[in-house]
């Protein structure tokens, strides 16, 4: 089929050859490839430069003054390791990630299973709210929960409790959407077979469905954790003061106020942990679902 198009366009001069090249419907998409490469460079280079400057020997974040790890460990006062405020920000961020993930994933998986099989208005409404919380501007939920914490006398207090509750509410949609996507591809036949063979519904879920859902459960665990440690809006409004401020809030507070490369180092520490979790998760996920196509799509949060 290539030859047909080529014989139609017979170029004579150089300019016409260029035009013919442009019009040839079967040519290689070089312009698109160029745009894609430019995009990837533009989206990742600034971050790479920021990581590079976290290793700067001097105080500048714009002029390179030699390589050192002083902002990670060497500086006795202002390095991530030695500055107690930076240090505690990292610990608090990871702690929030752990707590929120441990609550969100079981809650979301159970909800996904229930919503998938329960027909009626209530589950339809609950499902719509879950989907809405996926695209809702985060600040709306954060302000609403802030009002609950400050105006009402409830167990929801500012600080770690409030942050975890807010994060779970905002992240619940991940496991629900991913697990429901997986349930669609599994179908009902396995669990019906288990019930025909004498299992109770709970037994069928526990011994058949949950095992088949493991990849999806695993993927949502990784996604929720990685997303929680990057969260900013909810954790800022619901933080109870400097001791419960995670890394993102530290970056926001100091980015415009004459920071040192220690801030870059702080961000890099978080970046590395986030990417490590996702990478490990992805490799493990690929082992789970060997032989299936499109395993990477789930990691786009797309499912």
């Amino acid at each position: 089929m290539t030859s047909v198009a080529r014989t139609v366009a017979v170029p004579a001069a150089q300019t016409r050859r260029l035009g013919a090249w442009f019009r040839d419907p079967w040519r290689k998409p070089r312009i698109l490839a160029g745009v894609t490469l430019l995009y990837i460079g533009w989206s990742l280079l600034p971050v790479a430069i920021a990581v590079l400057f976290s290793f700067n020997a001097g105080k500048s974040r714009t002029v390179w003054q030699g390589f050192s790890t002083r902002w990670y460990y060497g500086d006795p006062l202002r390095s991530v390791w030695h500055d107690p405020t930076l240090h505690s920000a990292v610990v608090h961020t990871l702690w929030l990630g752990l707590l929120a993930t441990v609550i969100t994933v079981p809650l979301g998986v159970a909800m996904a299973l229930g919503l998938d099989r329960w027909r009626g208005r209530i589950p339809a409404g609950a499902n719509a709210f879950v989907l809405i919380s996926f695209v809702l501007p985060e600040i709306l939920l954060a302000v609403a929960l802030l009002f609950v914490a400050t105006v009402l006398q409830t167990p929801l207090h500012l600080g770690t409790v409030g942050q975890v509750v807010g994060l779970v509410t905002y992240q619940l949609s991940y496991p629900v959407v991913i697990v429901r996507g997986r349930l669609l591809t599994i179908g009902k036949q396995y669990e019906e077979a288990a019930i025909d063979l004498g299992a109770s519904p709970a037994g069928a879920v526990r011994r058949v469905l949950v095992k088949m859902l493991l990849p999806a459960i695993f993927a949502s665990t990784v996604l929720v954790f990685a997303d929680v440690i990057d969260d900013f809006v909810i954790v800022r409004y619901l933080s109870g003061g400097a001791s419960t401020e995670p890394v993102s809030v530290k970056i926001y507070n100091t980015a415009r106020a004459a920071p040192t490369p220690a801030l870059n180092a702080l961000a890099t520490v978080l970046l590395v942990s986030s990417l490590l979790v996702v990478l490990l998760g992805f490799l493990a996920y690929r082992r789970f679902t060997r032989g299936e196509r499109r395993s990477i799509d789930v990691f786009a949060g797309e499912a």
């Binding site: 909800m111 629900v176 900013f232």
Partner: protein, 302 residues
């Protein structure tokens, strides 16, 4: 199943869904009512603390009227920020689409054996903290930063652009940089679902590149375009931190900044509630469109 009544079985799935449903009702739906109670409530005259009013019949509209009254008219100091929000978000979403569509299209159709690598690179920004990505630009856009140095061609010209000094261009491009990864992914998923054979058939039947795009690819990707626009536009509506980090000037503030500035100011929490409700009202129809689109998308997939 003789030993298990059908009733017990019917209750099983609702029981599984119950904890999550209760959670989302108590902590997502109910708090929105608290916002209303604060917005239509009063303010303690001494402590400047909000006093919520729970009974809708006793709602006090003075805070709401105050906000509405200052959107238009001679005292309309909220108006410009709202207009700015609409303009910035529309511009940024448009640029996002112009950038994301070709990238997603290339990755879905032509990447070949580099597809996995490309996809991983496209997903990477998704897992880099938003604050980190903004911090990266704060560094680059400093007065003596790399951007100015590149523009001055290594010192040939004297370029001193204060990029971070309240420039709308910086804010819009910052929004584009921040949100474009969220657009690439749903677009990729949608474009990937279009069978390449259909596009090749169009070309075999004599359609040029542009005709193929206009009459085949674009119509088939329309749902993905809508979903991806919603996924980026809605979160942008509540953004205040991009503005704070890249401009820090009231001359570029958006509705998110209005919320953020008033929510932490004693006596102005009701105003924050009014802006929250405003954003919610504006975004509720797009959100319902999103819910519908994703639901039908799931049905198509199965």
């Amino acid at each position: 199943m003789p030993d298990r009544g059908p009733r017990g079985q019917r209750l099983f799935w609702p029981l599984l869904a119950l904890p999550g449903t209760v959670w989302i009702t108590l902590l997502f739906v109910a708090p929105l009512y608290v916002v209303l109670a604060v917005l239509f409530g009063g303010v303690d005259p001494i402590l400047r603390q909000p006093v919520p009013v729970w009974d809708p019949l006793q709602w006090n509209f003075s805070q709401f009227d105050y906000v509405l009254g200052h959107i238009v008219g001679p005292d309309g100091f909220f108006g410009p920020a709202l207009v700015r929000t609409a303009v910035y978000v529309a511009l940024a979403s448009g640029v996002c689409l112009l950038v994301a569509y070709p990238v997603a299209y290339y990755t879905a159709r032509f990447a070949g054996r580099y597809r996995g690598v490309l996809l991983a690179l496209l997903i990477a920004p998704f897992w880099i903290s938003y604050m980190m990505r903004m911090l990266a630009w704060v560094n680059l856009l400093q007065n003596d930063g790399l951007v100015n140095r590149v523009l001055s061609l290594g010192g040939l010209y004297d370029v001193h652009v204060d990029w971070l000094d309240g420039r709308p261009v910086t804010v819009v491009l910052g929004l584009v940089y921040g949100y474009v990864p969220y657009m690439v992914l749903p677009l990729f998923a949608g474009l990937d679902r279009i069978p390449a054979a259909v596009q090749e058939a169009a070309r075999d039947l004599g359609a040029g590149r542009f005709e193929t795009f206009r009459r085949v690819t674009w119509p088939m990707s329309r749902t993905a375009v809508v979903v991806s626009l919603l996924v980026t536009t809605l979160p942008m509506l509540g953004d205040y931190y991009t503005n704070d980090l890249l401009s820090a000037s009231p001359s570029t503030s958006m509705v998110g900044n209005l919320i953020n500035n008033s929510v932490l100011t004693p006596g102005q929490t009701g105003q924050a509630g009014a802006f929250v409700m405003l954003v919610l009202l504006v975004s509720i129809i797009p959100m319902l469109i999103y819910v519908r689109a994703t639901r039908s998308g799931v049905e198509v997939q199965s």
